[in-house]
């Protein structure tokens, strides 16, 4: 029962956050640029403009217009891009696979490196490799993502010419229209540098987090008890201790989604990666208001969905969690 109450509570909260985001998005659209100018240009007289305004409902009260905007948004209509002359959501969805695969690739890189590195540093605290990893991680935190990206482009793309420096390369279109770079050799080569860049700032953060949590877990009573019971060292380390470090990792991972999306914009700019972030910056430069709003609402939606999922996963893997709002 408590779980269901909690789920409903979180779902309501997600809806409220989306409502606020849409309200912000709408008030921006209301104040930024004149849709009429984009539609008809300069040559139309003032009287005709007023008639057109009435027809389009631009003279209605704010709340009436907002209700209409919300109604359209729920049906997936976030306006039409001034530049592309196509529904803004379609334009964004066409670019979504590129960004998604970039994020997926970099999540794969930093998880597969930070978990072993973090565990190693927690177990062998004094070894030279630990000292090296910990020093390197503070350097890693201090180098902005776009500088890592520029350095990689310069070194492997320009000087050594080992890897392609921009774009997605050859992509394969799935039957349902999803363009993937994972299935072609050229597409994979193009993914390497952007994915490393994007993971470069997450990697040191996660190594430090996993190390700290693992060290804390190794000192707890249940780990000492498991050891006293005579369980093998690997079992104590990787089953008993490590499982309990997953919880904070999931939470922090969920909190990082906003940062990760912001960093996709930086990475995509350096590599001219044809994803949503690159599209967003182009839209800003062209003052393509509907596209800017659609991006904000779409990103807000991803953010809310990911955070809600993380909350669910958190409650699932932690039997001790006290559900907020549940009566004990």
């Amino acid at each position: 029962m408590h779980i269901i109450a909690f789920l409903i509570r979180r779902a309501i909260q997600a809806v409220i956050v989306m409502f606020v985001i849409s309200l912000i998005g709408f008030s921006i659209q209301d104040n930024l640029g004149d849709p009429l100018r984009e539609l008809v240009g300069q040559s139309v007289s003032e009287a005709e403009r007023q008639v057109l305004r009435d027809q389009l409902g631009l003279n209605d009260p704010f709340w009436v217009q907002y209700a209409r905007f919300l109604g359209n948004a729920v049906q997936g209509d976030l306006g039409t891009s001034y530049f592309f002359k196509r529904p803004a959501l379609d334009v964004i969805m066409a670019k979504f696979p590129a960004t998604f695969e970039l994020v997926l690739g970099s999540v794969f890189i930093f998880l597969s490196l930070s978990i072993p590195a973090g565990i190693y540093c927690a177990i062998n605290r004094k070894s030279w490799l630990t000292q090296f990893i910990m020093s390197a991680s503070i350097l890693g935190i201090s180098v902005p993502v776009f500088l890592t990206a520029i350095l990689l482009v310069w070194l492997f793309g320009v000087e050594l010419q080992w890897l392609p420096a921009f774009g997605r390369g050859e992509t394969y279109t799935m039957p349902w229209g999803w363009e993937t770079g994972f299935l072609t050799w050229d597409g994979l080569l193009h993914l390497i540098l952007p994915c490393i860049s994007l993971s470069s700032i997450m990697l040191p953060l996660f190594i430090r987090l996993i190390r700290a949590e693992m060290m804390e877990a190794m000192g707890t009573d249940y780990v000492r008890f498991a050891r006293a019971k005579g369980l093998s060292t690997p079992r104590v380390r990787y089953v008993h201790a490590f499982r309990n470090t997953l919880l904070p990792v999931v939470t922090v991972g969920g909190l990082m989604i906003g940062t990760l999306i912001a960093y996709t914009i930086l990475t995509e700019t350096v590599f001219q990666w044809p994803g949503m972030g690159f599209l967003f910056l182009e839209a800003v430069n062209r003052v393509d208001t509907p596209l800017i709003i659609a991006y904000i609402i779409f990103v807000g939606f991803i953010f809310v969905v990911v955070n809600t999922i993380v909350d669910f996963v958190y409650t699932l893997i932690n039997p001790m969690v006290k559900l907020p709002g549940a009566k004990s």
Binding site: I138, L147, V158, L255
Partner: protein, 302 residues
Amino acid sequence: MITWRALLKRFLSDPVAICAAVVLLALILMAVLAPVLAPQNPYDLMQLDIMDSEMPPSWQPGGDPRFLLGTDTQGRGVLSTIMYGTGISLLIGVGAVLLSGVLGITLGLIAGYKGGGIDAFLMRLADIQMSLSTLMIAIIALALFQAAFDANVYADYAIIMLIVIIGVAEWPKFARTVRSSVLGEKNKEYVDAARVIGLPARKVMWGHILPNTLTPVMVISTIQVAEAIMTEAALSFLGLGMPVDRPSLGSLIRSGFEFVFSGSTWITFYPALVLIALILALNLLGDWLRDVMNPKLRRGDD
């Protein structure tokens, strides 16, 4: 708490902290004294000559002794632009942290001291804002600002906008730190005593509790400045921050980036090096401060 003398002693026995402090001090001096030290004034169009553009550093073939680190595409000396640019980056970083400090301390004190609904509301807001991330909030706010005003207005207000947006977006970190210290302090006898003699809540909060919460604030401020400088650099790199004619380190990197492909790497790499040195020095000092101020952490490390 730790005395100033003990702090100094620990500082002098830590070579990493000394190095970081020396680098930071050198960069600050360089930025403050830029108008005196810089070989040319990159803002003075009279001193610029387009014939000087894209010169390599002076020790490379084709270099000019007037421009130690070479010139950019507008004929500005890279060394001079770095000196002025570091100042702008520092100004925005420190300004944003001061603003977020004032906001965060105020809201953190109120949340911790009053508790109840106002506390729940402020902390929930802080949660949401923190998970949205400063950079994402700043990107969206500045994108809208840039779309709403024309380029000249934007250029005039860029510094103020950057300080305000980064400062406001960063308040939750200070607020949470202060709030948790306040929760630890507010049930102690001295607070009760202050309350019993009839001091108003405002005086108890600001005069009695606040001074006891400042140690953690000091620790996070250093790292926050590094983060604010990094955020500003990222924004300027995206073209949403400082304009190219009043460049910060981030906009210098942006303006040189496309020339990396044609081999003019110095326009990008020297500002990048200074930016990394600045952030690294601040992060190392922040880490050192945290270890010194927090004896519990220090023990856990051994």
